[in-house]
Amino acid sequence: MEVKEVTLDSLLSEVQGLKAEEYRLIQICATKVNEDEYEILYTFGDRYDEVNLRFSVDGKTPIKSISHLYWAAFLYENEIHDLYGIEVENMVMDYRGGLYRTAEKAPFK
């Protein structure tokens, strides 16, 4: 599995580039590395080929939404917020923690 490591700041320009090349969004997910580090993995597809972008965050710094470029990203971003407690800025549809009705707040944190 090939993954291109990016940074929080370079994410949007990378995603803009993929959008211009008509890549589709396949998925976004978070992985907890340790108490202070989370990986955010974005997967895009060009028919059957895939491109993976990844960066690390500390869990307290908000990440930027890509939902203005890929509208469907709002569901994945709300999921990351609700399960990991990572803030996502400027989502086109922000459920404010209400996408998943979990008994415990941010259970995957």
Binding site: M1, V3, R24, L25, I26, Q27, C29, T31, K32, L41, T43, R47, Y48, E50, N52, Y70, W71, A72, F74, L75, D82, L83, M93, Y95, G98, L99, Y100, R101, T102, P107, F108
Partner: protein
């Protein structure tokens, strides 16, 4: 000027076997906006990687859903097998492909029944579920289970399926094909059914692509993409004809799923003809270390299984991106501008599986 009102739809509704909620913003009887809301049955299965080792997680993955259970187990073991560089015996690859296509058959027949039930055609609903029952019987004979099969393991399968049994399945599939063709006539030619499906919930190819759709939802909008073309399992050796339609409406989604039933029967017959003799599993040593994303074509569309492992017996992450999760944004799009009375049918035509989506 039309009056605007917000009508809550679900989470409990006669047409929904599982809970999803929509806030429907209406102008008189027309829907102008639909805001989806899920999370009523979130189980946090992915979190179980902390408690179940990488072999036990096969059972957890299978329990993601009672309809696509075989595919979920397959997706997970495929990811782990790639991480561990395990060469799965050819016979196991063929058997997995046959079981996968049987899963697609029973899933699509279940959906046809739910669709018939949604527009009140009860005898058609019972007929399609009667046909489906034969597939469940075949599953029971082959694996011992009708819903959860537990036949997948890392490195192959837990048990073989004898060639004689596979040949008896082919005989029974001839009867299933014949019966499904009769039911298909009602779905595709009955004027009352067509009046409920034709021109309802149109999704153009551009919209389907932009909204990240997958599966029959995507193919019914004219896009020819099917993850089986990646060639996993035995698909590389089989002749796969992808069913598409250009209409993009609820009728097209029905047409595509019906086409896929006949295609699955054909794929099973091809696989039974070509299946080699030999071992059906391979011994597995050590623990996985690395990451992989497996993508497979579930009955509802492309599903992704991301597994990350660090060389211990517990994987650090298992993430499942289910097809319904990818199709929810498109549902909100097709609901815009529709009549309130068509909302239940349109929700059914995306074939939502909330159990998968919530995980």
């Amino acid at each position: 000027m039309a009056t605007r009102s917000v009508v809550p739809f679900g989470p409990q509704h006669p047409v929904l076997p599982e809970p999803i909620h929509l806030d429907l913003v209406l102008e008189d009887e027309k829907v102008v906006e639909a805001i989806p809301s899920i999370g009523f049955i979130h189980r946090g299965l992915e979190k179980l990687v902390e408690k179940k080792d990488f072999n036990e997680m096969v059972y957890v993955a299978e329990r993601t859903c009672g309809i696509c259970s075989f595919g979920h187990g397959y997706g997970y073991v495929d990811a782990v097998e790639h991480i561990m560089n395990i060469e799965v015996p050819e016979r196991a690859q063929y058997l997995r492909t046959i079981l996968f296509e049987m899963s697609r058959l029973h899933s699509h027949l279940l959906w046809l029944g739910l669709l018939a039930d949604a527009f009140g055609f009860e005898s058609l609903f019972m007929d399609t579920w009667r046909i489906r029952e034969q597939i469940l019987n075949m599953f029971e004979e082959a694996t011992g289970g009708r819903v959860i099969f537990s036949i997948n393991k890392i490195g192959g399968l837990r048990k073989d399926i004898p060639n004689e049994m596979l040949l008896s399945f082919v005989d029974r599939l001839d009867g299933i094909e014949k019966e499904t063709r009769v039911a298909a006539k009602s779905f595709l030619e009955d004027s009352a059914v067509k009046s409920r499906l034709c021109g309802v919930g149109i999704l153009t190819a551009k919209e389907a692509e932009e909204l990240g759709c997958c599966g029959p939802m995507l193919r019914a909008s004219g896009i020819r993409r099917d993850t089986r073309e990646l060639g996993y399992g035995a698909y590389d050796d089989l002749d796969l004809h992808i069913t598409t339609s250009n209409k993009g409406d609820s009728y097209a989604r029905t047409e595509v799923r019906l086409g896929e039933i006949f295609q699955s029967i054909d794929l099973i017959k091809q696989a039974v003809k070509k299946i080699p003799d030999g071992p059906f599993d391979t011994p597995v040593k050590g623990f996985p270390n690395g990451e992989y994303m497996s993508r497979i074509e579930q009955p509802r569309g492309e599903a992704c299984y991301y597994v990350k492992a660090n060389g211990t017996k517990f994987v650090t992450r298992m993430r499942i991106r289910t097809p319904t999760f990818a199709n929810i944004p498109a549902l909100t799009k097709i609901l815009q501008g529709c009549d309130m009375a068509d909302v239940p049918i349109m929700i059914v035509t995306i074939d939502p599986c909330i159990s998968c989506t919530e995980r």
